[in-house]
């Protein structure tokens, strides 16, 4: 962490391309370097999740359960306790932890392949039980780690390696809108969907995550924050096009906003 911060002037148009504004790394991320691709949205989401833990002073009561995806690399880079689970199974593992440590703060980090494909029943059952845990869904509408195949959240028309001409409802079925589904569960206390494709949405993401955490600490029941993340590699678009592609492809289907509040 550098003590010297650079502040951009705001009283005139920029005279040079955007540069590093701040190399501050949240204290709960032990190593800022990662092997994820340039333009990936997952590190931004995980940063927001860790900052919120720090701000709510939950670091010494947190257990984070990781699923399997690109984000799994961060399981080893955090200064909070971690349990590495299998693909899809994190909500059940988190349930066992929370039942034995009811005063602890227990969350999961999963992708759309993990939570909505492989583990749909686990997350919905946890929501229906009102399990007092927080699940974070990093949704990029594609299998990133395996190189860009269709997931259940891939939107109609979206091109992937297994829907080459675009997702066709007659052949590939329709996307599952996980947060909308979870919000119908009586046991769900807080459900929200956000994105990390621009500064405003990043701020909103952190706000929603904070509300989800607060809801768990209040004992309100199940909370879910779905975060739309960029995956330029898996989408086969230029890195810089990632945020706009998210806005044009995922966001119109997976609508941003709070779907359920306590």
């Amino acid at each position: 962490m550098s003590d010297e911060r650079i502040y951009l002037s705001t009283d005139s148009p920029p005279t040079e391309p955007a540069a590093l504004v701040d190399d501050f790394t949240p204290s709960l991320i032990t190593q800022a370097n990662h092997h994820l691709c340039p333009g990936c949205g997952e590190p931004i989401a995980i940063r927001a999740a860790m900052e919120a833990i720090e701000e709510l002073e939950l670091a010494q009561s947190t257990i984070t359960v990781f699923g399997i995806g690109c984000y799994t690399a961060f399981a080893h880079n955090l200064d909070v306790e971690v349990v590495q689970a299998l693909h899809g199974r994190a909500p059940s593992v988190a349930t066992g932890i929370k039942r034995m440590l009811p005063d602890g703060f227990v969350m999961t980090v999963q992708g759309d392949g993990d939570m909505v494909n492989e583990g749909l029943q686990e997350v919905l059952h946890a929501a229906a039980r009102g399990e007092n845990i927080t699940c974070l869904l990093l949704n990029n509408g594609v299998f990133g780690e395996t190189g860009g195949q269709m997931t259940t959240t891939t939107t109609l028309g979206q091109r992937t390696k297994t829907s080459i001409e675009g997702r066709d409802p007659h052949q590939h079925g329709h996307p599952i809108l996980l947060s909308d589904l979870a919000a119908t569960m009586d046991g769900a206390a807080y459900v929200a969907r956000c994105a990390v494709n621009n500064a405003g949405n990043v701020a909103r993401t952190k706000r929603y995550i904070t509300r989800a955490y607060e809801s768990q600490m209040a004992g309100a029941g199940f909370s879910l924050v779905e975060i739309l993340t960029m995956c330029p590699t898996g989408w086969f678009v230029d890195t810089l096009e990632g945020p706009d592609y998210l806005q044009d492809t995922l966001a119109p289907v997976h609508n941003i906003g709070e779907l359920k509040t306590p």
Partner: protein, 356 residues
Amino acid sequence: MSDRALLEGSEAIARAAVASGCRFFTGYPMTPFTELLEHMASLLPEVDGICMNAESELEAVGMAWGAATTGHLAATGSTGQGLSLMQESLAEITNARLPLVVFNMARGQGDYFQATRGGGHGDYRHIVLAPMDVPEAVELTRLAFELASQWRTPVMVLGDYYLAHTYQAVSVPSIEGAAPEVPDWALNGSSGGSGSAKIISPLGGGVEGEEGFDLGAHYSACAAHIQEMSVGVDPLIDIGFCEDAELVVAAYGSVGKFVRYACLRLRDAGHRVGYIRPITLWPFPSQAVHDAVASAAKVAVYEQNMGQMVEDVRLATLGAVPVEFIGGPSWDHSGFGIGPDINVPDISERILEALT
């Protein structure tokens, strides 16, 4: 303190589990495992423990996995069919070095391979204990929790319909004792923010991208641990009349008790038969089997399946003595493993046939 009472096997095992310190149990109803889940559901709240009726076996084993990371003794189970669903997690829990007790109230004896060969993906084994009746199941349940904690690994208690549903007089395990202390490796969140927060992962520890995070090294360490268990866990076996036996009959579990009794009666009638009943199916008591049959002319293996443990008996004897399979599948209409062939006259006849 404990009093003798007539208890259903499932209840005796449930009481033994709680008496051993088990504080988390989860399962999905399935015959003949169901009653174990029911008894745990009624017993665990008495000691402030948790029992969950999971929505599926996949979720049951996941919940048990999570509970185990907190250092409290956890258990789950099913029948072999349900355990098939759990295998992916059981394989990973093994690599995450977590203690867990798994009960298989099997339908018949077809699950020997599933139990003793790891059962899921990858290169691992589980300690497997096979009680022949209710009192032995009480003792082996205690042992299962001890071994699970000592070796930080899943341990299976392999029973069946007979064990789960037979009422037998046993010393009732008292559930009043305190649970063991939570071990140092367990998670409770408190190491967060310390600069070296704990991680429990089937992929090993260390920091990604830095020296120390090495999947290959972790898998090698896991394999070394399995190897260590294979020689470090005391093999258990019940042996009778082998010193001068012409024929030694091998069997395990409830079926082993029938075989043992048949051998006893045949001895009374003057036949030189002995028996061996492996109790730890992994590690298999190979040396004891080898030694017990050293002077016999033949070994006969009776299992109610197409011949599974017979392979371990052959490996233990290494061709020193002929090993004949005299068992076979036996089913009634229910398919729950209540074999009509489990009767002493039928078993005795097969033994006599092998003797001639």
